[in-house]
């Protein structure tokens, strides 16, 4: 009996692996299968012609794809950097604040993160609406013409970036604040005794300790921002004139508004690859030794 003892852990792992296999690998296999065939809503119930990489060629020759990639770059870059900076800044302020103040503000800051995408997008439409929005009420009261924030290509991107930052930043606050509290008070004390300046303390002592947290945070908010198309879908639908149509949303709309499943599946695969490449560069940038 003892000779089988070594296999017992694998036996316990089996259900979890099975579920993982089904929900991850099966779904991915199915997605890749669709991307390699010509599948639309029209022929879904018939035989699917195998087209190899033709769908990927279609994606790259589609004139809207380039626009969506540019939109994704703007949306993700501004979103990720802002969330990191604002979130870390607030986390630091909370870290330095009195315990009572910290305890009061921390739950308040987390509220946006707990808000569902639907509620958040609807809320932001209300805030920025031309006739119903609070912002435009202020603008009108100052004697200016109201602005249709989500109705114009120039301002629609700004609107979705703002909404995403508002919704995503609390996670950074939460994570970075927890990370900061993990810095040992003795270390802080010791650095003071050794005469380290505030700048030296944060760059030479705190930052290396926080590095793995920053990396994890960056990876997570990158994944979430790139995939935040639900927020965009509900706020602008990708418009006007594709001004807020990000790459994953392009796939979603092709698949579920137009019935072009292969095109949508191809974009999903490319989106994941894009995210993986970004994560690879993050790891390189932050030094692989932190993971």
């Amino acid at each position: 009996m003892d000779k089988y003892r070594a296999y017992v852990p694998y036996l316990f792992l089996f259900p979890a692996l099975g579920i993982l296999f089904f929900f991850q690998f099966f779904a991915w296999g199915w997605n890749i299968n669709i991307a390699l065939h010509d599948v639309t809503i029209m022929n879904f119930r018939r035989a699917w012609p195998f087209v190899g990489l033709e769908n990927f060629r279609d994606i790259f020759t589609d004139p809207v794809t380039l626009v969506t990639l540019r939109n994704t770059a703007i949306f993700a870059t501004t979103g990720i950097i802002s969330q990191l900076l604002i979130g870390t800044g607030i986390a630091y302020l909370l870290f330095r604040a009195e315990r009572g103040i910290e305890n009061f503000f921390r739950p308040i800051f987390i509220i946006p993160w707990l808000t569902s995408v639907l509620v958040a997008s609807f809320g932001w439409r209300l805030v920025l609406g031309r006739d119903t929005g609070i912002v435009n009420m202020v603008i009108s009261s100052l004697g200016f013409e109201p602005i249709s924030f989500i109705g114009h290509p120039a301002t629609a991107m700004l609107a979705i970036v703002l909404a995403n930052i508002w919704r995503g930043t609390p996670f950074t606050i939460l994570l970075m604040n927890s990370a900061m509290t993990s810095i040992s008070p003795q270390l802080v004390e010791a650095s003071k005794i050794d005469g380290a300046s505030q700048w030296t303390f944060y760059t030479k002592i705190a930052l290396p300790i926080l590095k793995p947290f920053i990396l994890m945070n960056t990876i997570l908010i990158t994944v979430w921002t790139i995939n935040a198309y639900g927020l965009i879908l509900n706020m602008t639908g990708g418009g006007p004139i594709n001004a807020t149509r990000v790459f994953p949303l392009h796939g979603y709309l092709a698949a579920f508004n137009e019935g072009r499943f292969s095109f949508g599946a191809g974009i999903t695969i490319l989106s994941v690859l894009m995210t993986l490449v970004l994560i690879y560069f993050y790891l390189r940038f932050y030094d692989a030794d932190v993971v």
Partner: protein, 456 residues
């Protein structure tokens, strides 16, 4: 004594069960339905009540005449139960696709006219009752655009049973203050000319946001301007000499249509991205005019329940859609219909329920009025039941305007890739209106895109 009591109890139980058994002789058929919600229709379309209590009290007349109840009267041994999946409009296409791809066993599915061709092409829906529908359409005078909108590949997939007419609603006090009459703005050119003055009056004299709000960038407004395109002699798609489809908008008519919308905006119309609030804005007197549907009637009459029809028409005017001088009124007229999937467990029952709905003017009229929708056939427009009921709610002049709008309707091409095609033209519209791109350039680009879509 105790034994006797037990025996009596057992006997009464057996007898009771037997009686219950007799009562259950009716065959219970559950019709599985998928539809979108309608604020005015808690009973989910025209079929029958779901959760009967409230409906029975609120609408006793309709409750008894609803298609499902009429079916039961015609088949005393059958009891119909409705199992309805109500999917929000914003998520409806996705759910339709999922139903098709998983071959879900619905008996009836509500379908928008613009998706008929694409969904029919999937093979999920059955055209097996095509001849019945064809006969009905011929007998009842279904308007030609709805005949074409209901067919795919020469077969009927249902009957477009309700429609709406988009119209310009006007606060007459603002209009008159600006020095114009309804007649002045009923032409496309007249509206354009009057708009700056109306806008200024609305802002200055009445403290309104603007003169006219025009819906923009919502799924359902994408092709609404195409009524003007058809008026001017263009079309979405047309067949060339070889019988192949090609864009029918890359011409003078297309350019005039897009420039007209741009001119409206340049003359003061507000592009309304928050189109969900358009009607509310108008009712709150934030705009002098709005571009809303015939269903706005119910909002107006419920806001002013004490006003007579005369008072209402004195206060608010309606134009079905503006008409270019010397041109025939043409407006894009879509609608909704019931389609039966091949996998339907009860296709014959589902079909009979639909035909009951279509043939019973009482319940049909009731539902149209309740939803603020309009009929799609001469037969129903002429029905005394409908006219009596509708003119109780809609002032006669408005009703006549709507009827004109429906009669002058044009249908969308019955083409599988319509959703992609309409987007190309819509992008062109936005480029001209928002980005100041010349109409000819935007249309060239859209036509190229459409050709690629058609060739693909």
């Amino acid at each position: 004594m105790k034994k006797l009591a037990v025996l009596a109890l057992t006997l009464s139980l057996i007898l009771g069960l037997g009686l219950v058994g007799t009562g259950q002789d009716k065959e219970v058929i559950t019709l599985k339905v998928m539809t979108t919600p309608h604020p005015g229709a808690p009973h989910y379309g025209y079929l029958g009540p779901v959760g009967s209590g409230e409906t029975k009290e609120k609408m006793p007349e309709w409750y008894e005449n609803s298609p499902v109840r009429v079916y039961e009267k015609n088949h005393p041994n059958v009891e119909i139960k409705l199992d309805v999946d109500v999917v929000p409009k914003s998520n409806y296409t996705k759910q339709l696709y999922l139903a098709v791809s998983s071959n879900k066993k619905y008996d009836l599915v509500r379908v928008d006219e613009m998706q008929v061709a694409q969904l029919a092409a999937t093979g999920y829906f059955t055209p097996q009752f095509s001849e019945d529908y064809e006969q009905w359409a011929e007998e009842k005078g279904l308007y030609e655009n709805f005949v074409k909108g209901s067919t795919y590949d020469g077969k009927f997939y249902g009957i477009l049973d309700r429609t709406g007419s988009r119209a310009i609603w006007v606060w007459k006090d603002v209009l008159h203050e600006a020095g114009y009459t309804m007649e002045d703005i009923s032409s496309a050119e007249g509206l354009l000319e009057a708009l700056p003055e109306i806008t200024e009056t609305a802002k200055e004299e009445f403290g309104m946001s603007s003169g006219l709000e025009y819906p923009f960038d919502a799924g359902w407004v994408v092709d609404q301007s195409w009524g003007w395109l058809y008026q001017l002699g263009g079309s979405i798609l047309e067949k060339n000499e070889e019988g192949e489809w090609e864009p029918g908008f890359n011409n003078e008519a297309g350019a005039r249509t897009l420039n007209y919308i741009k001119n409206l905006v340049d003359n003061g119309a507000t592009l309304q991205r928050d189109w969900q609030w358009m009607l509310a804005n108008f009712m709150d007197r934030k705009y002098a005019m709005t571009y809303e549907g015939s269903w706005a009637v119910s909002a107006i009459t419920s806001k002013y329940p004490d006003k007579s029809h005369e008072e209402l028409t004195d206060m608010i005017g309606v134009i079905p859609t503006t008409k270019f001088e010397g041109k025939e009124l043409r407006a894009l007229a879509g609608g909704w219909m019931w389609m039966i999937p091949r996998a339907a467990p009860n296709p014959d029952v589902a079909h009979e329920v639909i035909m009951t709905m279509l043939n019973n003017r009482e319940s049909y009229a009731h539902m149209l009025v309740q939803e603020g929708n309009l009929p799609t056939s001469e037969w129903m427009f002429d029905a005394p039941q409908y006219k009596d009921m509708v003119t109780r709610d809609i002032p006669e002049p408005w009703y006549e305007q709507f009827r004109r709008g429906v009669a002058g309707g044009v249908h969308r091409p019955s083409l599988e890739k319509y959703s992609q095609i309409q987007k190309a033209f819509w992008d062109a519209t936005q480029r001209v209106v928002v980005n100041d791109v010349p109409a000819e350039e935007a249309l060239d680009r859209a036509a190229k895109q459409v050709r690629e879509i058609l060739e693909d």
